[in-house]
């Protein structure tokens, strides 16, 4: 199915995974492993309290890039499916920002593909964070190291 979802609406990653996997198992009864990554908004960054976050993106390129790395993961590892869900727009602490998952017959490929997808997303997918602090707003200039 290799779904890529960009959404302005808050989502529950666990519910999303459960619904997606129910559909997936009808197509792939040989799945033996799923590796997932869930990224959540923190209420602090670089020593400052963060009240809100706005995630801007380059709509067509974001989707294009996430589809591209999903296809690359399928080529590189023995996996059966991938899922990427990414929030954009305004959000609050504890909101889920990103969900990445990879399904395979065995754990090795699932772990590796999931790690590849989130690292590629964080380093190359055109999203930008703007934080609201008690003292004003600022653009996040770089991601935290892996």
């Amino acid at each position: 199915m290799q779904q890529v979802v960009i959404t302005e609406t808050a989502f529950n990653p666990w519910q999303f995974l459960q619904d997606y996997e129910q559909q997936l198992q009808q197509h792939h009864p040989k799945i033996g492993a799923v590796s997932t990554f869930v990224g959540t908004m923190r209420d602090n960054n670089e020593g400052d309290a963060v009240q809100m976050l706005f995630l801007e993106h380059y709509p067509q390129m974001t989707e294009h890039y996430l589809r591209k790395i999903s296809a690359q993961a399928m080529q590189q590892w023995q996996i059966m499916d991938t899922l990427i869900v990414h929030r954009v727009g305004a959000m609050s602490p504890n909101d889920t920002i990103v969900l990445v998952a990879a399904w395979a017959a065995h754990r090795g490929a699932a772990f590796d593909a999931c790690r590849y997808l989130i690292e590629e997303l964080k380093h190359r997918a055109p999203f930008w964070k703007r934080e609201t602090l008690p003292t004003g707003a600022r653009w996040v200039e770089h991601n935290t190291p892996a």
């Binding site: 380059y58 890039y65 990414h86 997303l121 999203f127 930008w128 200039e141």
Partner: protein
């Protein structure tokens, strides 16, 4: 015999987009440019952003694919400039 129109010297039209902090710094979101000669991505930056140099950390894409600063732009291209990405 074919003769080019004497007043029509533009050979290509492109769209240039700026994102995130760059959009605020430059004060533009989107610019449409008619070019009279082929240009590289770095030259488009100079023309569209009123800046002399293409900063090292700025990323560029043509038609949704990353490119480097020396790539030549083509008629109808959408060129995007943006700061380092911070998603996930």
């Amino acid at each position: 015999m074919f003769r080019p129109h004497p007043y029509k010297t533009n050979i290509m039209s492109i769209t240039v987009k700026f994102f995130a902090s760059l959009r605020e710094t430059i004060g533009k979101q989107e610019v449409k440019l008619d070019l009279s000669q082929p240009l590289t991505v770095a030259q488009v930056w100079t023309l569209a952003g009123d800046n002399a140099h293409f900063p090292e950390h700025i990323l560029a894409a043509i038609n949704l694919e990353y490119v480097d600063r020396d790539t030549m732009v083509q008629d109808g291209d959408e060129i995007a400039f943006f700061p380092p990405v911070t998603g996930g």
